[in-house]
Symmetry: C2
Amino acid sequence: MPVNLAAPDPASLLPVAGVRLGIASAGIKKPGRRDITLIELAPGSHVAGVFTQNRFCAAPVTLCKQHLHGNEIRALVINTGNANAGTGEEGLSRARQTCAAVAQLFGCATENVLPFSTGVILEPLPIDKILPALPAAQADLAPGHWSEAAHAIMTTDIVAKGASRKAQIGGKTVTVTGIAKGSGMIHPNMATMLGYVATDAAIAPALMQQLVKEVADVSFNCVTVDGDTSTNDSFILIATGQAGNAQIADAAGTDYAALRTALDEVAIELAQAMARDGEGATKFMTINVAGGRDRAECKQIAYAIARSPLVKTAFFASDPNLGRILAAIGYAGVGDLDVNALKVWLGDVLVAENGGRAASYTEAQGAAVMKEAEITVRVALNRGSVDATVWTCDFSYDYVKINAEYRT
Amino acid sequence: MPVNLAAPDPASLLPVAGVRLGIASAGIKKPGRRDITLIELAPGSHVAGVFTQNRFCAAPVTLCKQHLHGNEIRALVINTGNANAGTGEEGLSRARQTCAAVAQLFGCATENVLPFSTGVILEPLPIDKILPALPAAQADLAPGHWSEAAHAIMTTDIVAKGASRKAQIGGKTVTVTGIAKGSGMIHPNMATMLGYVATDAAIAPALMQQLVKEVADVSFNCVTVDGDTSTNDSFILIATGQAGNAQIADAAGTDYAALRTALDEVAIELAQAMARDGEGATKFMTINVAGGRDRAECKQIAYAIARSPLVKTAFFASDPNLGRILAAIGYAGVGDLDVNALKVWLGDVLVAENGGRAASYTEAQGAAVMKEAEITVRVALNRGSVDATVWTCDFSYDYVKINAEYRT
């Protein structure tokens, strides 16, 4: 079950001026399942995205990248139940047909539409089911349908994921609202995820790509469930510019800082929600590696711990098998790491230093920390001043069950 | 249960002239468990090893590397139940004390002894139990005790692992016999493993290090269970020189080829046995990647498939969820990989080409292959002429169970 995570109160997901969302059921995988989401953007909106680096990227990812290149985006269309990945030229054609059908409904060009798919890989996208459902999704469009959309984009997620913040920018109140889905095949870049964060703040187009990358780097690119990088991961940032603030044009000043804080908070809350709702999760783990020479080595070590099946099964068992954490640090690939110089804490308990178990450590201390549902592992490398944090979950019987039975 | 793997018939493990093995019980983890193995080598034996690249390498690994540097090796001492890893200076001291005690029994110097430990990490090595058990192990020394040793070095292994071959070298019959243990925290370099292969062939000392690396590269460094690289992995090659062949001094000629074949066959059989007996294994998987530009990229892709929890759980479920294989190929990190040029086979069934599912593929074909206990995945990259093979097992409920309950 998800760790300290409930679906957001629909009222807590604030409308973003210039964004409307509509849901429909195409019956892609199950009859009656609400599996189609349309997101309509007001004219003048700016959109940027970051996408999976998987070479087998899905057809919709390829199209998204093409359409984001110089076209104003007016609509997003998302389906669950089929990833349209590993589908070759025919997959591209079907994703394009989906965009064209949406474009016809919205009176824009195919290139003004971004497509997203999530679900089973290597199956043809059933456009015979998707296209007829689009008018119903359009008819459902409303500014208040963020919660409905958060539910409609779920696959193996147990809990819908959404978050909102308000910020003051140049005397205007701006809103940031985001939704996302996990929850398997989660590892950056990106996690197996779809994430959409929209704000009504006015942001210069030239700043959008940098902004979406920076926000992803502290949020969606800091989470792992199983180390598998999906074919479809997409994180989209939308700025409708309807809040009336003076356009933010560069990454400096208090306006930018206020915006970044709100965007980061929403994206981090969504990213953490993916780990909390990771497949089979019973524990939420935060891995913080500090004192590194650069962020890359800190992330490398944090991910080695967060990905290790041995560490994750020990956390599932509430077993303070700290040696597995040390082993993961040791094989992370930081070649000149001095293991005698580093320290490791489990919660607030110092567990390792001088290349071995801390003299003050007792098994009872470790066992007490491991009983908690939320556990932080801290590593101090003592060779620099940079840190990184990664979130993950444990590895349970249910992870195997969910993934062994996914298609049955 | 291990996949098509039984403990070797003791009579099939051939004695190697110049090698004697003795077993004893120190009660390290369980009273009565035979957990100490001594291997005595005749004077004039040559020994080389390859070891874990984990920065948190265990104390015995550190000592092995020191002792192999310019010292004749006369004895090996192996304990299970405790890895003596993450134990700092005190761990080194205890490993050295163990070597010193063995040296006293054998009338040699501490530096003539190699120590090995496997088991729980981060716990002090109980030399108060180990040292008193050494005389019994010495008293047990016999050339025919390979099978007993194969059993005594097991940890979570279900089945003992051993293999023998004979080869004709320069008119003399030489013997190669090896034993190894797995079976969790298995990923090169090295797998979590201890492997010992001995031959009575005469091999020049200068050739030994190259030989042990080459044999490891096609055997122990081609197997993964969970992607975790252990702190203690060690593979030791012993050549006693008692067979009477003319010393093999370089890596050329028919003598070398015959020796390599015998050594490779023994090491590969042991390495495959580790995957067959991987924790919780129900399927044995061979991942062959061909047509690559170099061996590194072939191994990278083979390991991405072999490590993926999503691929491994699908194999456990006998589910031909081929998309997960494609996804793993895609995120393996070969940046310029053309996914439209590659082909993938499951057994003999072509499942993917042209960036998607093969037109000829049917789910029934895939399902038939997945029912087998031994499954080969073949990938043709079509960009070069090099190939690599990796062996692994599936990922089952029992993997989680074994690793969640390991210390309880």
